[in-house]
């Protein structure tokens, strides 16, 4: 093994039933480098990490670690730790009710007693050494999230760590805290620790990493030096350019939209999850939020629908000022929202297809005005036919339907309320190509009927086919708006990458 290499993974394969999660992936980590692991949803980042930390057994391939002869087999996170591989997860896995010092040492000592003095002294040295602004006797819960994250890192580093895996450590931190974390990462790097940095924030990768490995659909795209890989190329590599064999759909004329009446407008809208942004949509317009995973596109539409607590901004619907604080407010204004996480926020798994379809309408009508059985059956049959939902009957529980058909049921649920504005967040994720096309066609058909639609998809191709205006987001900020001629794949990628080459 080369001198400066601490860990190599060669030809790693991992199969799940029906899915190749990892297909011959290589990964090399050098001493004293920060190596970013990048990829979109389903690229295989977390699977690779889980193979490395022994959470999943790999099906093929070998892992070598500096100081150990021959390939190693890792069965558990504890075993990984004994090889010098430590992981700090996105969610802080410490106990908030214990002190900082205890969190750094609990579960590690062999003796039955606790020597507080020695423990606190050692913790104090370690914290000072790494310039972490926490005190050993402090209760962990009284530290900011960033400091808690750093304490977790300090714990990991203290265990003779050669490989430190940071799995999206920055996703709940603000800018200042991120900077603090980066300082610690650079410090550890200088001490010779190899760091694997998993994140979806482009800026952060360029701010702190030395190398980038990109995965896509479980395959290795390549390993690059950060300084040799411009942002736009990184985005291209992550998203890929493979154009799926979909029926060509005619796009509506973008010029026609400009004269239309505005249905919804927001100024400085923000929620607990999203930063302030401006947004508007005209009647019959189809627009979309685009950006990488975690760029804030879903958070923005959730703010529009009131799905997360709204913290500021003003909203106008049909030219009239209004307040949308919770989903019911939005529904009363004629806004529908198809959530990104179908299983969690969308379907009620054990209810029948019919009950799932009439749900939103029933909520709008209120408890006092139940929908009669006959009417419900009529509605359900109408939409099962209209959307071509493949189900045994309207009484079938929705959980036994395929993903695509479940999604159509949710679409039906909203169409039944006759919304004026429908937000579709990743309506095509995880569903087959045929249904994808159907949904895209439906979107365009609805827009011809004067319905406003906001469409979000990870697949840029799909957005380009359906939307006449794209709002581009990066790292939780709006960075551009593209219409008409600008709607090309290159242009979108450039904007996502921040116009840098």
């Amino acid at each position: 093994m080369q001198d400066d290499i601490v860990m190599t993974m060669r030809g790693i394969c991992k199969y799940f039933p029906g899915v190749k999660a990892l297909d011959h992936v290589d990964f090399t980590l050098r001493r004293g480098t920060i190596h970013a692991l990048m990829g979109e949803n389903g690229a295989g980042k977390s699977t690779l990490i889980k193979v490395l930390t022994g959470v999943y057994p790999m099906d093929k391939g070998e892992i070598r670690i500096d100081g150990v002869d021959g390939p190693v087999v890792i069965h558990s996170p504890q075993e990984a730790q004994s090889f010098g591989i430590s992981t700090v997860y996105q969610e802080i896995t410490l106990c908030p009710n214990l002190t900082v010092a205890e969190n750094m040492f609990i579960g590690r000592s062999q003796s039955r007693g606790v020597n507080w003095k020695a423990m606190e002294k050692r913790a104090g040295e370690l914290l000072e050494n790494l310039s972490i602004p926490a005190r050993p006797k402090q209760q962990l819960g009284s530290c900011s999230l960033a400091v808690q994250q750093m304490v977790a890192i300090a714990r990991a580093v203290d265990t003779e760590c050669k490989v430190l895996i940071l799995d999206e450590p920055t996703s709940s931190l603000d800018d200042k805290e991120v900077e603090m974390l980066f300082r610690l990462m650079r410090d550890l790097k200088a001490r010779g620790v190899g760091i694997i940095f998993v994140t979806h924030f482009l800026e952060q990768v360029y701010a702190v990493s030395d190398q980038i490995t990109v995965l896509r659909n479980g395959e290795l795209v390549g390993e690059y030096l950060v300084k040799e890989l411009p942002q736009v190329q990184l985005v291209e590599k992550m998203i890929g350019k493979d154009i799926e064999d979909l029926a060509v759909i005619k796009k509506n004329d973008p010029a026609a939209d400009t004269h239309k009446e505005i249905f919804y407008a927001a100024k400085g809208l923000s929620s607990t999850e999203s930063r302030p942004f401006d947004f508007h949509i005209a009647k019959g317009e189809v627009n979309g939020f685009t950006g990488l995973l975690g760029s804030g596109r879903s958070e923005s539409v959730r703010a529009i629908f009131g799905a997360d607590p709204v913290t500021g901004g003003s909203v106008q619907v049909n030219g009239k000022s209004t307040k949308i604080a919770k989903p019911l407010d939005a529904m009363k204004q004629g806004i529908g929202y198809l959530p990104e996480d179908r299983k969690r926020d969308g379907i009620i798994a054990d209810l029948s297809v019919r009950d799932n379809i009439i749900l939103a309408l029933q909520v709008i009508r209120g408890m006092g005005h139940p929908i009669s059985r006959a009417k419900a059956e009529a509605f359900a049959d109408e939409y099962i036919k209209a959307l071509n939902i493949k189900t045994a009957s309207a009484d079938t529980p929705i959980k036994s339907l395929s993903g695509g058909n479940q999604q159509k049921v949710i679409v039906a649920r909203w169409l039944l309320t006759h919304p004026q504005y429908l937000i579709l967040d990743e309506p095509t994720r995880g569903i087959d190509v045929g249904t994808k096309t159907e949904i895209q066609k439906l979107v365009l058909k609805l827009s011809e009927e004067e319905m406003s639609i906001t469409f979000i998809s990870s697949e840029i191709e799909e957005m380009l086919r359906t939307c006449s205006r794209l709002i581009v987001m990066r790292d939780r900020n709006t960075v551009g708006e593209l219409t008409g001629e600008e709607l090309t794949q290159e242009r979108v990628m450039h904007t996502i990458a921040g116009g840098k080459d």
């Binding site: 606790v114 006797k137 209760q139 009284s142 900011s144 300082r183």
Partner: protein, 363 residues
């Protein structure tokens, strides 16, 4: 980029943990309450015997509450403790009275004196407590069954067993009770009565047992790996697992200790009353939960201290004395004040914790 040193928070005061904060509040309130009672009613509250009476009557409750505090710190609950206490007291009395032929046979076979019955009663008490603790702990920790349900079953089981052991209330023979009810006299804490005779303060042996247990549990919770793992498990079970804590063992041990302490409490209860009765220690589990909460143990787990619990028991019973002294002699007033007290403490705790944690910013 700023100098790293500048980002370090500048705070003069030593940081205080939630556990320490809540315990301090309890002790302060107890002291204030007692001083207030002293100023208003004087009399009985002036005599140290007042405190000793509370301790004598509630030694078993202190022991039970210690066990419950441990269980509550791990985020679990044990409501079988009152039933186990009563069962142990009943069995103990039966052994002392020679109503159980197994023990009579043992004593005759080994040629032991009558006072050995006390030793057998104690051993049996410990075994019964351990048995309940082991079974409940196993079901809760290893089979992941809801603690509330399991210990509810344990409570009914123990209460039912009492009647199986003896349908009628039992009273322990006086000669053995004389040994058990020996009181420790403390002259320097005594008081002089109207005739000028010094009456020393009297403390039962059970109180010594209770105090020793408080100290032992305090060290267990503070100074041992097992004790700290209780806090970790109660703070965040998933995290504790990731940090390498043996979560199952911790939960099991917490219930085991609670069972064992209920056994000891049952013996102490028998020493105090000398009676076995199906209605013994009624609602002891509820009083123990109340005492732990007043003492600063959170039902949600992860926060609590046995010293606080000790003062919790004192506070709860001092309030009852105050209610009686102030002329509200009907028993329901005690229940009402206990309820009000519990509400007050829970409110106070959540307000204090909210303020403390809001200061530290987000989420």
């Amino acid at each position: 980029m700023a100098n790293p040193k500048n980002n370090a928070p500048v705070r003069r005061r030593e940081p205080i943990t939630d556990t320490q904060l809540l315990m301090t509040i309890t002790i302060c309130i107890f002291v204030c309450m007692y001083v207030l009672a002293l100023l208003i009613w004087g009399g009985g509250f002036k005599k140290p015997q007042m405190i000793f009476d509370i301790l004598n009557d509630n030694a078993f409750l202190i022991i039970v509450s210690c066990g419950l505090t441990i269980v509550m710190i791990t985020g679990s609950i044990d409501i079988s403790v009152g039933g186990v206490t009563a069962l142990v007291a009943m069995v103990g009395v039966m052994i002392l009275n020679g109503n159980l032929s197994l023990y009579n046979g043992l004593i005759t076979a080994l040629g032991l004196s009558e006072s050995w019955r006390i030793v057998f009663a104690l051993i049996t008490a410990l075994l019964i407590g351990l048995a309940f603790g082991t079974v409940q702990g196993f079901l809760i920790a290893h089979l992941q069954i809801q603690p509330f349900i399991i210990t509810l079953a344990g409570m009914f089981f123990a209460r039912g067993m009492i009647t199986i052991v003896s349908v009628d209330p039992q009273k322990a023979t006086q000669n053995l009770m004389d040994i058990l009810q020996k009181r420790i006299e403390i002259p320097w804490l005594g008081s002089v009565n109207k005739r000028g005779v010094l009456i020393p303060a009297k403390m039962e042996i059970g109180v010594v047992v209770a105090l020793v247990i408080v100290v032992l549990v305090f060290f267990l919770l503070r100074k041992t790996k097992l004790g700290r793992s209780f806090y970790a498990v109660g703070g965040n079970q998933q995290s504790a697992l990731m940090l390498g804590v043996n979560v199952r063992r911790s939960r099991f041990m917490a219930h085991l200790i609670s069972g064992l302490l209920s056994g000891i409490a049952g013996f102490v209860f028998m020493m105090h009353t000398g009676a076995g009765n199906a209605t013994n220690a009624t609602a002891a589990e509820m009083n123990a939960i109340a005492s732990s909460i007043i003492g600063g143990t959170l039902l949600t787990g992860g926060v609590g201290n046995v010293v606080g619990t000790f003062f919790g028991v004192l506070t709860l019973n001092t309030i009852k004395s105050i209610v009686t002294t102030s002329g509200l002699r009907d028993p329901w007033w005690q229940s009402i004040t206990t309820g009000a007290m519990l509400c007050f403490f829970i409110l106070l705790q959540s307000v204090v914790l909210m303020r403390k944690n809001r200061k530290n910013g987000k989420k």
